[in-house]
Structures are given as structure tokens and as C-alpha cells.
């Protein structure tokens, strides 16, 4: 484009990064916390805390379904496990019978529907991560476009990073601010590079058929169901025989499946046409068993219990796609691996954040030259504060709202979500009214305060406070509270550092102007 290949890649990296930077930060941050969405949901419904999953959980679920929907088109049971102790039941009925879709969260240890405060829980942040709370498919399309641009930014960033091996371990926090931010940006990007590439690419794969349906549509002439059957991605629901028949007991089927799968648990059960002579029961192995998502299935005749077909995914491409899906969702991970995922994801979020900060730092106007900074520059700076510091504030407000809103308020789930967006709007408007440096400190300090307040508010509004949960070994709630405290402490430290640097400088731009001029003339500057 202009000059060498590397220079055009540097240009591309800077501008592609800026255009989607704030959006990507939001996607990355909410994605990061989504790895713990079940834990977040449990914290946000403390009434359910310490719900155990009994050995006969699946039978309890079946009994409940027989009670509320003895005849239906399809039942789906999301089998409870150690991370999500609630059985999620879904019922579909034929058109004409109401309600045609029904959903129930079942506490299998009591056999009763979950009685806890109404909330979207961690699912709110999870859904925001891939559809931005924008209606219909538009949210997903926007996220998909951002993901492609993220991939472009990663690859162009690697190409631009001339000294990727020499600077592999280079972090110089003592240097002028631009250089140390660049070091941080580089080292976080390179150390977790496999993760960044993987998570972005697999993110696109999870919604592959929304973004790129043409291969399937052309090859199958639009017959989506035929593709799904051939790829063993879904089962065709049989027509009703309209002859009533009893379902075979489920326990022996589960035993057979677990045995066949070498000990892997059943994660999901579909029953097609329960109560009918054409009933089918499909068992799917648990996501936590292996990387590939929904890896193995067995289809049984619902009335006789005979095996109709099995899917062990010996098809290479389908298995690859399953693995990619599973890698992105990370449900297979145990606590240690989940923590490693979380750290790498935080690194990715920080890469985006440091990139945004760098963009502003590089273009900071020198004092005396043409006076005030341009509108574009000030907008970018305001959006930086409002997103990098503001989005965490919004998340903390979301958690606080969960504890502060009355438990029996009907619309509380939507009010919690609303408070998240309201807080975010305020944090974006605030830096437009304050000088940027002050805005950073104020928002970071507020974020620290709000996060630290979460366990405190928890102690005052519920009985599941930190002292109790630590003593009882309730690691979900205790871990959440401790994480909130830790986040608060870290943010406070960052706010303090930013405040100290500002007060140490004689005038807001002077010292930075000198150093940035010096840095600009150095060879290193051509890197980005």
C-alpha cells in the first residue's frame, strides 16, 4: 500500500484495531467471565447454593416431565453436573397444543421447580458476548464481523512485530510510557498467541452456518435437515404414530451408554415423541468428558430400549468442527485448566486494552503545536475510558443490582440487565465531561470500589456471606466473593499508579512530549 509489506500491515493493524477495538474489548471481557457463567449464575441465585445432585437426578427429571408433559413432540433434559446442579428441562409440543414451548429449571434433590430470585445470571454476560443484546441475528453478525477483523489484527500484528523472537521476554516498565505500553501489548499478545488465534477462529466456527451457509445451501440445495442428519449433528424427529405406548425405564439405558463410553457421563437426553409408539430416546455424552462438543450419541427405541444407531463421530471434518466448538466453549476443562483459559483470555482482553491506550498515547498532541487535540482524538480517548474502565464498572453494577433489587420483584431480571447498560452509558458520557487523565483515575477508582463492595453487599443482603461460605467449603460462592475482592484490589492499584504518574509529571503533556519525541526518533518507533 504505502512502502513495504510490513508498513502496510502496520497500518492495517493500527486501523483495524481501532475500528473494532471497543467492541472487541467488550466481547473479550464478557467472553472471559463467561467461562464461569454457571458459577456466576449460582452466585446470583444464592437460594440454590449448595444444591446437590442426587444419584437419581435423571429419574427425578423424567418423573417431572411425565407429570407436566406426558405427551409431547420432544423433551430435552440438560443433565445436572457439579458445575450446574440444576436440571434444565425443555418441552416442545406439536403446533396446536399449548404451550408449544415450555421450560423448567428443576432442583433434582427436592424434585421441585427452582425457587430462587429471577435473574438471567451469568447467561446475560454470555449472551451479550456473542449477540451484544441486539435483536435477531444482527448482534451475531456484528460480532462475527468483529471476529474476522480481530483475526486480521492478530495476523497483521504478528507480521508487524519484527523482533518477535528477540523481544519475546522484553518488558521494560521503566521506559517512557509509549514504549512500556507497547512492550506490554506485545508480550501479552505473543505469550498467549496460540490462545488468541484459537479463540477467535473457533468463535467464528461456532456460528459458522450463520456466517457462511453457502457451501451447505448449494451442496444440499437448501435442505438443511439433510445436512444435519448426514453430519450427525441432529436427529430427525419421527412422526407421531398416535398409538400410546410407555417409555422404557431410563436407568438401564444410561448404564449401557456410560459403559459404552468408557465411563463418560451422560450430558444430555432427548426424548422424541414420548408416550407414543414411535418414541426415540437419544443420549449424548457430557461436554466435560472430551474436547469435542456433543461428541457421542446413542439412539434407542423409546419403547423397547433397543439401540437404533450410535454416533461416535468417526467423520473427520465433523469431529474437527466439534473439537473447535468445544475448544471455544471450554466446557471440558477442570478448575485448573479453566483457570488457565481464564488467564489467557484476560491476556487477550488486555492486548485489546493496551492497544487502545497505545493508539491514544502515540497521537498525544505536543503542547504548543496547534493547541487543542482534535475531535477524533478526544472521542477515542473518551471511548477508551468508558470501555476499558467503564465496562468493568457496568459488570460490577450488574452484580450489585442482583443483591440490591428486591427478591420478589417480577421484572428484576430485566432491571439487572438495564442497570448494566445504564451504568455503561454513564461511564461513556463521563469522560466527555472530564479531562481524560482525571476520568481514568475516577473510573478506575470507582470500579475498584464497586468490585470490593460486592462481597460486602452480599454479606448484608444474604446469609451466604464470605465467612460462612469459606467455612463450609462452598467454593463457588466463596470463590466469587474472593475474585470480586481481588479485582477490586487490582483496580485500586492501577488507579493509584495512574494517579501517581500524573502527579509526578510537571505538566500534563510536557514530560510525555519530550519522551515521545525521543521515542519517535528512535528506530523502534517504526515498528507500529
Amino acid at each position: 500500500m504505502k512502502g513495504s509489506f510490513r508498513q502496510s500491515m502496520a497500518w492495517l493493524h493500527t486501523w483495524s484495531g481501532l475500528v473494532v477495538g471497543w467492541l472487541l474489548f467488550a466481547i473479550f471481557l464478557t467472553g472471559t467471565v463467561s467461562f464461569f457463567r454457571h458459577e456466576i449464575t449460582l452466585w446470583m441465585q444464592p437460594e440454590l447454593s449448595q444444591a446437590v445432585v442426587p444419584a437419581n437426578a435423571i429419574s427425578v427429571a423424567f418423573d417431572e416431565l411425565q407429570k407436566i408433559a406426558p405427551k409431547a413432540r420432544r423433551w430435552l433434559i440438560d443433565v445436572p453436573d457439579d458445575r450446574d446442579p440444576i436440571a434444565h428441562l425443555y418441552i416442545w409440543r406439536d403446533p396446536g397444543e399449548l404451550p408449544d414451548f415450555q421450560r423448567e429449571e428443576l432442583n433434582t434433590s427436592t424434585g421441585e421447580a427452582v425457587a430462587a430470585r429471577s435473574t438471567y445470571g451469568g447467561d446475560f454476560l454470555f449472551y451479550f458476548h456473542f449477540d451484544l443484546n441486539v435483536p435477531s441475528i444482527w448482534g451475531r453478525l456484528i460480532v462475527g464481523a468483529a471476529a474476522i477483523i480481530m483475526l486480521v489484527a492478530i495476523v497483521s500484528g504478528v507480521i508487524t512485530h519484527r523482533r518477535i523472537f528477540k523481544d519475546f521476554f522484553t518488558f521494560r516498565p521503566w521506559k517512557a510510557s509509549q514504549r512500556s505500553w507497547l512492550d506490554a501489548h506485545n508480550i501479552l499478545g505473543v505469550m498467549a498467541l496460540p490462545f488468541h488465534l484459537m479463540i477467535t477462529y473457533t468463535g467464528l466456527i461456532t456460528l459458522m452456518f450463520l456466517y457462511m451457509p453457502w457451501g451447505r445451501d448449494v451442496a444440499y440445495d437448501g435442505d438443511q435437515q439433510a445436512f444435519l442428519s448426514e453430519a450427525a449433528l441432529s436427529t430427525v424427529i419421527p412422526a407421531a404414530a398416535n398409538v400410546p405406548d410407555r417409555l422404557v425405564p431410563i436407568e438401564p439405558l444410561i448404564e449401557m451408554a456410560v459403559d459404552r463410553w468408557g465411563g463418560d457421563a451422560v450430558g444430555r437426553i432427548d426424548v422424541y415423541r414420548p408416550g407414543d409408539a414411535n418414541a426415540l430416546i437419544e443420549l449424548t455424552s457430557s461436554d466435560s468428558a472430551a474436547i469435542a462438543f456433543h461428541r457421542r450419541k446413542i439412539l434407542f427405541d423409546g419403547n423397547s430400549g433397543e439401540v437404533v444407531s450410535t454416533t461416535d463421530n468417526t467423520q473427520w471434518a465433523a469431529e474437527t468442527r466439534g473439537v473447535m466448538y468445544g475448544l471455544h466453549i471450554g466446557r471440558f476443562s477442570d478448575p485448573v485448566l479453566r483457570f488457565l483459559y481464564f488467564l489467557s483470555s484476560i491476556a487477550g482482553t488486555a492486548v485489546v486494552a493496551t492497544g487502545l491506550v497505545l493508539w491514544v498515547a502515540k497521537r498525544r498532541p505536543k503542547p504548543g503545536a496547534s493547541g487543542k487535540a482534535g475531535f477524533g482524538y478526544r472521542t477515542v480517548e473518551a471511548l477508551n475510558v468508558g470501555t476499558v474502565a467503564g465496562l468493568p464498572i457496568a459488570i460490577a453494577v450488574f452484580f450489585l443490582a442482583n443483591r440490591l433489587l428486591p427478591v420478589d420483584l417480577a421484572a428484576r431480571a430485566d432491571l439487572e440487565a438495564g442497570s448494566f447498560f445504564l451504568a455503561w452509558i454513564v461511564t461513556i458520557l463521563h469522560p466527555m465531561l472530564r479531562p481524560a487523565a482525571r476520568a481514568w483515575i475516577e473510573q478506575l477508582a470507582l470500579a475498584a470500589l464497586l468490585f470490593a463492595a460486592v462481597p460486602v453487599v452480599n454479606a448484608f443482603t444474604t446469609s451466604r456471606h464470605l465467612g460462612l461460605t469459606l467455612a463450609q467449603g462452598d467454593w463457588v460462592l466463596a470463590g466469587f466473593d474472593l475474585s470480586m475482592l481481588t479485582t477490586g484490589v487490582i483496580l485500586a492499584w492501577v488507579a493509584w499508579r495512574v494517579g501517581r504518574k500524573r502527579s509526578a509529571a510537571p505538566a500534563p503533556y510536557d514530560s510525555r512530549a519530550n519522551t515521545s519525541a525521543a521515542v519517535q526518533t528512535s528506530m523502534e518507533q517504526r515498528e507500529c
Partner: protein
Amino acid sequence: MLTALALSLAYAGFTALCLAMHRHHRQVWHRDASRQSRAVFRIAGVSCLALSLPVCVAVWGGAIGTVAWFGVLTLAGSALGFLLPYAPRAAAALGAVAPLILAASVIASSV
């Protein structure tokens, strides 16, 4: 315990590769690395990194273990990168000492 061993091996591997560079060798010992020590560091570094993979597989199984290995590398490399500017000697010493201690305790506990 094995997880900690995998982490310490990865950290040691990165430390060795890091010290093979003049820039970082100077951070710790205030002089450039010699040709021989660079070669030794590089071999030791690659070996430790490679060794951490089978340890990860031992903890998590084949496929998941490989995924975990990348995560372990990320954590170890980042830890070294952020420790180095603040305490270069401690960072280097940790790389030498940690895997030895953990390897010894793993062997001791399996005996």
C-alpha cells in the same frame, strides 16, 4: 503436584531460552553470554519446554493435555516476562530451583 511440575518445567525452559539472549543475560549477570553458555541454555530450554508436554498429558490425557500445555506455556512465559524487569535474579533463580524441588517431591511421593 504434577501440574506444578509441568508449570515449573515450562518456566525453567523459558528462563533458559531467555538467558541465552544477551539482553536478558545482562539483566541478571551484567555481562554478555558466552557462545558455550548460549548453546547450553538453548538446549536446556528447549528440553525443559518439551518435557513439560508429556507431564501435561500425564495430568489431563492426550488431547486435553496438549491444549493445557499451551495454557501452561502461556502462564509460565508471562510470569517470567513480568517478573524479569522487577527481580531478574530471583526470576532466574526460580527457573533453576523450582523444577528440581518439584521433580524431587513428585518422585518422592510416588516411591
